[in-house]
Symmetry: C2
Subunit: 141 residues, 2 copies
Amino acid sequence: MYKKILVPIDGSENSLKTLDHAAELASVLGSKIALFHVIAPLPSTVQRYVQVNNLVQEVQGFGQEVLEDAKKAIAKKYNLEIETDLIYGDPANEICDKAKKDQFDLIVIGSRGLSEITSIIMGSVSRRVARHAVCPVLIVR
Amino acid sequence: MYKKILVPIDGSENSLKTLDHAAELASVLGSKIALFHVIAPLPSTVQRYVQVNNLVQEVQGFGQEVLEDAKKAIAKKYNLEIETDLIYGDPANEICDKAKKDQFDLIVIGSRGLSEITSIIMGSVSRRVARHAVCPVLIVR
């Protein structure tokens, strides 16, 4: 039913639980999975206090590690075709754009991620994705 | 994977499209479906101008018709076990309570329903359900 499923992950425990849920669904439905990690721009307040180049490298390394670890764990548990992609930008926008551009049939996303506290003020990524995505969105707890 | 799927419908075209999506998923996964229609309390401004008893009967009749029509259409197209339930209350609260109390594994809900315009001000039912449900929520466009 869903040929291509997009699973954004931020490395949080919740996003890995969500991935497991998505992978179970994909293995039943015979879907392909794409893991997606979005690196949000550093706030200018952070840029004032740290060596930006080093931090960018660290953040990018973290993102690649998150994707590779998740891919390994899931590929081992389920027999799935898994792509990974890392990108810079606003997470909710990039997730919606990716799903539209690459014609995904479903986005599976956790209700909470690493930015759980700020989400109360800013509107969480999952809520923005649920509102703006052009395809169905499955929100996992 | 999902044994019991809850599908709230308000009779809007969008909710019937959502039901079709849910039924397709249920037929692939072998899930049971429960159709759920919630009648929101009449606003006091309405109660001032109309024969409340007649209106309550009409609204209830509409709800029962929505459920029966949807059940027939889906049972014909897919080979599914379908329950229906009609209740009075706040739609988002009742949907979340029902899913929790009867241990549903998934709620499938449309992103827009009959209250599309008021939703801009009040926060739509689907957004509140996505935020407060204890089980996964699939939002269909």
